[in-house]
């Protein structure tokens, strides 16, 4: 059996030292098995897996997991049951239960719908991402700890819009990279690791970006995700 690096395993724990508890909801048994397999190998405690939104709500109410991993489309209507279940869970438990939405759609609109009332402990990932084992486990962990995760492909779709013009044109290549990583929900430390620079440099880039785009600096990662996503979403072509 493949296992996570011991250090990484340690991250799959709460401060109290117990493994992070996760529930999985997807109507495909194969996907549920795959996700459970990856999570278990990563040191998470999968306390249950179900195939419908209704069962999910019962499961969450009974177990109070750290993260619920939810398929956006589930029976009975194969519509947006997953999104609705996510909203119900958040209304019930607040940010204490993180929600990771798994989807087959590279659609910023769905991610924005999920993040409509805040980004803390919320994530939107393409299902394929489950196979990027380390990245996926990292995402679940970040959500468990209140962070935000947006699929890189969704961010790419937003950033690559030809519509984008105005202040965003003034960003340097490097600043654009940093902007994308912020939109994915990465912390300064994570961005520094990705770009092989120091955290100080990232902080400087971030300050520049926010100044150029006219955004208010915000200390919380999940708030700045929202600020950046909202900017990307509404930025229009030149007048």
């Amino acid at each position: 059996m493949w296992t996570m690096h011991p250090n990484a395993r340690h991250d799959a724990m709460t401060e109290a030292g117990r493994p992070l508890r996760v529930v999985v909801a997807d109507d495909s048994v194969l996907i549920r098995q795959g996700v459970t397999r990856v999570l278990s190998a990563g040191g998470f405690d999968v306390v249950g897996d179900v195939g419908t939104a209704e069962e999910l709500l019962t499961l969450v109410a009974g177990h109070r997991p750290d993260v619920a991993i939810i398929d956006i489309r589930m029976p009975p209507e194969q519509s947006d049951e997953g999104l609705r279940a996510a909203r119900t869970i958040r209304a019930m438990a607040g940010p204490r239960v993180g929600v990771l939405m798994l989807s087959q759609y590279v659609e910023p609109a769905f991610a924005m719908t999920l993040l409509a009332d805040g980004a803390e402990g919320l994530g939107y990932l393409l299902k394929d991402r489950v196979g990027d084992l380390d990245d996926f486990l990292d995402a679940v962990r970040r959500i468990a700890h209140g962070g935000s995760v947006i699929d890189p492909e969704v961010v790419t779709r937003l950033v690559n819009r030809v519509q984008l013009a105005g202040p965003i044109d003034e960003l340097t290549e490097r600043e654009r990279d940093v902007l994308s990583l912020i939109a994915e929900g990465r912390s300064n430390a994570a961005i520094a690791g990705r770009l092989f620079v120091t955290e100080k440099t990232v902080e400087a880039h971030t300050a520049n970006i926010f100044a150029k785009l006219g955004l208010l600096p915000t200390p919380d990662d999940h708030r700045r995700v929202l600020a950046v996503l909202a900017y990307l979403r509404t930025a229009g072509p030149p007048a």
């Binding site: 059996m1 493949w2 296992t3 109507d27 495909s28 194969l30 996907i31 098995q33 795959g34 996700v35 397999r37 990856v38 190998a41 489309r73 194969q78 519509s79 947006d80 087959q104 759609y105 590279v106 659609e107 910023p108 609109a109 769905f110 719908t113 299902k127 394929d128 489950v130 196979g131 990027d132 084992l133 779709r157 937003l158 819009r161 030809v162 519509q163 013009a165 229009g236 072509p237 030149p238």
Partner: protein
Amino acid sequence: MSGRHLRWAIGAGGLVLGLGAEWVQANAGIGGERILIDFLVGQAYLLGGLFTWSREPANRTWRCMTAAGAGWYVGTFAALPISPIREAAVVLADLDAIFLIALVLVYPSGRFTSGLDRRVAIGAAIGLTASNVVLLLTDLPAIPLVVGLTVTAAMGVLVPRRWLRASPVQRRGLGPALVATGLTLLAIAIAIGTRLGRVTPEVESTLLAARDLALLGIPLGFVVGYFQLAADRYRRLVATQRATEEELRRSQARIVHAGDAARRRLERDLHDGAQQRLVAALIGLRVTRAEMAERSDPAQVAPLDTTIAELATSLAELRELAQGIHPVVLTEIGLGAALATLADRSPVPTTIARAPERRLDPTVEATAYYVVAEALTNVAKYAAATAAAVDASIDHGRLRIVVRDDGVGGAASRPGGGLAGLADRVRAVGGTLLVDSPRGSGTHITATIPLDPDQPPDEDAG
């Protein structure tokens, strides 16, 4: 000979026949007034019959009327002392009555509506002719009297019977036949009466004049009846055509609706089937690869990476395909979000000025979506534009979508092209599509779609 030439020939023949008959009457010392009326009655049948015949060549009613007009003059030639014209004229003297009876019974369809009608018409023809033969040979008026009365009685029964059996719509058309029968009965009664010869010449002359006037009314009644029926038919035709057009549009709307539903289903099947399985396979493969990489030489794992990359690419392609089949954002979130996605993906910078915030009928939303999708595709392909704008607003029960660009213009709808297909689709849901694309001044595409596809709003509304 074509029908038209035949009718002209009959008309000319009828005129000559009429003039000949009146010449005979004049030589017999009959008064000018009677001669004129007699001439006019025959011509009225002839002209009325020929006119309506030309309007409805397939309807035999009008040939009966024409024949009755020609027959009108035949009896007159019995006054000629030339054999065998005299004998022939006596035998055929009732041709007018024979054709008049047929006319009344076949009006307005041109066909006998029952076997009894047909038998009476044939029986009257044979009976009246035979009785005239008897009259010629024996000079006994009793038999023609009996035959005449029998025919009169039969008509008096048959026409009211038709009236009683007809539907209200058919009755509107039968009026002239009823009036004609009344007048015919009167005319026949008078004819029989005068032929019995038991009246004074003055009374006979008056009766004959009354008979002629009554007979003059018959063709006019039929021609008026013809116009009434034609107007009725036209109104029904227009109503039917409107109903057909509306039914056609509804059926097109159903086809569009069914097409949309099929695309939604296909996208759903792909999503829940192939895509789901491929994702599961991809996850499984990657976990397996990670496990193998822990135990064995990385070189051994390398071939697996190619497979994984291939699988990931197929999955991404499949995702694009499914999105192209049916845009999920449109169904799940709405037109605004779906239009934003189209704008995001457009290679030409595109703004969405306005988009309806509330959800609309799925067919309306899908139609609007495809209008914008096709328009933006055209902008990217042909317009050489630097910017495009989409505006979708609701106004007086209609969704109005305008897509404009600042490109080269000159866009036109070609049969089988994208714009033509789009126009068909918009029309099917009761809307309109306008393409305004002057060369050099950009392209404006305006689609107007009623919000309720089953009740297209009035054209003048608003």
